[in-house]
Amino acid sequence: MTRLEDVEILLVEDNPNDVELTIRALQKQNLASKVFVVRDGAEALDFIFATGTYAARNIENRPKVILLDLKLPKVDGIEVLRRIKADDRTKHTPVVMLTSSQEERDVMDTYSLGVNSYIVKPVDFSNFVHAVSELGIYWGFLNKLPY
């Protein structure tokens, strides 16, 4: 389990299969040890804002990227995104939607809220692994953060 203060990739995903596949893909880039998984939008907000069960976490230790599903229990992905981008302490953390939705409305809404990138989960197993692996390289190594 990744130490709470060392998290580089926060994965917000309720589907256990997708969690498993995502972690396996990130292992290839040696990023799996830096991933932390939360399974609904409320837990994501607690982690990100260091509240509730994550109150002991230092909010200043920001992940390099948040991979965010849209359809989530309790609080949906759009609302999680809205809160991240509305708060000065968290708005600069890159957020990538990783979702099965191809709806133009979801794409438009998330870009309007300031999402950094929107990726449709490939249906095919090997394409999914490949996409996550590219994602990991991009946000883990290529992108430069302001913190």
Binding site: Q102, M108, S117, Y118, I119, A131, L142, N143
Partner: protein, 140 residues
Amino acid sequence: MEKEQQQADILLVEDNPNDAELTQRALRKTDIGVHLALARDGAEALEYLLGGQHKPRVIFLDLKLPKIDGIEVLRRVRADDRTRSIPVVVLTSSQEERDITECYKLGVNSYVVKPVEFEKFYKAVGDLAIYWLILNKSPL
């Protein structure tokens, strides 16, 4: 401005002819058939986007540019309803904290420092194009 018949996938805003040439070569190498529009300064870029009403799928933006600098281009792109959702990746040699912070404040999608080494630069441009044109879904 190099006019393109087809709507461009990428608007590259770059005044250094060597970097522009290298970027174009790296894009050709990716085999994804990229349509590129090149703007050589910030004024050309804004004219292309706001005057010409073009909507590329991604903008690769240098920071130090003649006439209007990259930060100001980013600010105006984000301030205009027609362009505010277009993904913008700053591609620059600047590693200055001030530039990085300012770009994120203005809502840049990603900030990439140009690798100095030729081979690495070449690879980074290819990776960038694949990420933003194949993997990422841009708003219509």
